[in-house]
């Protein structure tokens, strides 16, 4: 048994001494803040290192390369199809224009021929000579 256990007053004094308010030593706050800052930067560095390590992994690198390549190929094919579609549409318009002009001029000729036919005096059968009938 210690002396404090034997004497309750001694225990009380010891407690009072232990719990006595003491001012923090000079520079304590600065040292705490410095330690916190150091801990924070270390954590970030660790995190950054782990992220870079994922990206720098060969498998991920190849996957990224493959994804970009596939996207480029798909984009290229799509662009080519769109271009092809546009060119085809333009060719179709040209074709339709050509047919329209040709058809229109045919109609013009047809119309002119009809005009001539309608303007010509019809030959009446009764006016024909008997010789022409035979």
């Amino acid at each position: 048994m210690t002396e404090t256990n034997k004497d309750p007053n001694l225990l009380e004094d010891a407690l009072r001494d232990a719990l006595h308010r003491k001012d923090a030593p000079e520079g304590f706050t600065a040292s705490v803040l410095a330690r916190i800052a150091q801990q924070y930067s270390t954590t970030r560095e660790v995190k950054r290192t782990s992220w870079l390590s994922i990206v720098s992994a060969p498998l991920v690198r190849w996957a990224a390369f493959a994804t970009v390549s596939i996207c480029l190929v798909i984009g290229g094919v799509h662009y080519r199809n769109v271009q092809r579609e546009r060119e085809g549409e333009a060719a179709k318009q040209q074709l339709m224009l050509a047919l329209r002009i040709a058809g229109n001029k045919l109609q013009l000729a047809k119309e002119k021929v009809n005009e001539i036919n309608t303007s010509r005096p019809e030959r009446h059968p009764q006016k024909r000579s008997p010789r022409s009938r035979s």
């Binding site: 060719a91 074709l95 047919l99 040709a102 229109n104 109609q107 002119k112 005009e115 303007s119």
Partner: protein, 192 residues
Amino acid sequence: MSTINRKLPMILLLAFPTILRAQDLKLPPGVERLAAKAKETVEVNMDGPMLRWAAKFLSTEDPEEKKAAKLVANLKGIYVRSFEFSEEGAYSAPEVDVLRAQFHSPEWSRVVGVRSERQGDNVDIFFKLENEKMAGIVIISAEAKELTFVNIVGPLEVDQLADLGGEFGIPKLKTKPQSSKSVAKADKGEQK
């Protein structure tokens, strides 16, 4: 310059047979010269592969495009030059005669020739026949302010083509009363 202009039709006339043999009847180079004077020019050059490719884009649901697809199915080429001028007299009659002259050959038949002195609308239609089948058509339309040259190579239904002229937003021509001064000639089946 004027001497060249005067001699040009003759030069073109002499050059045509060579040009025609080489290109299986396409457009004579003299026609291109008119583009400089024209207010509007339409130029369509479509050979067989181009026609077939363009035909792929024709809709099967649209009736006009359906007709067009049927029409061009066996064609080997369509060549069109159409010049619209702001004033009359932009081209001379000899220049058009040069165009017509190239079809004065046994393989071509002039089926329609219209001359209208009053309105100035002259239309010539030539058919090319091979083994008694239509192998091509040429239309030369010389109007007061417009000159059009159409050459369609390959078998085609003329009636179907004429039908298409009244579609695509352009109304079919209506019959006008005949003017007494019009002098026209329709010589169907005439062999030149």
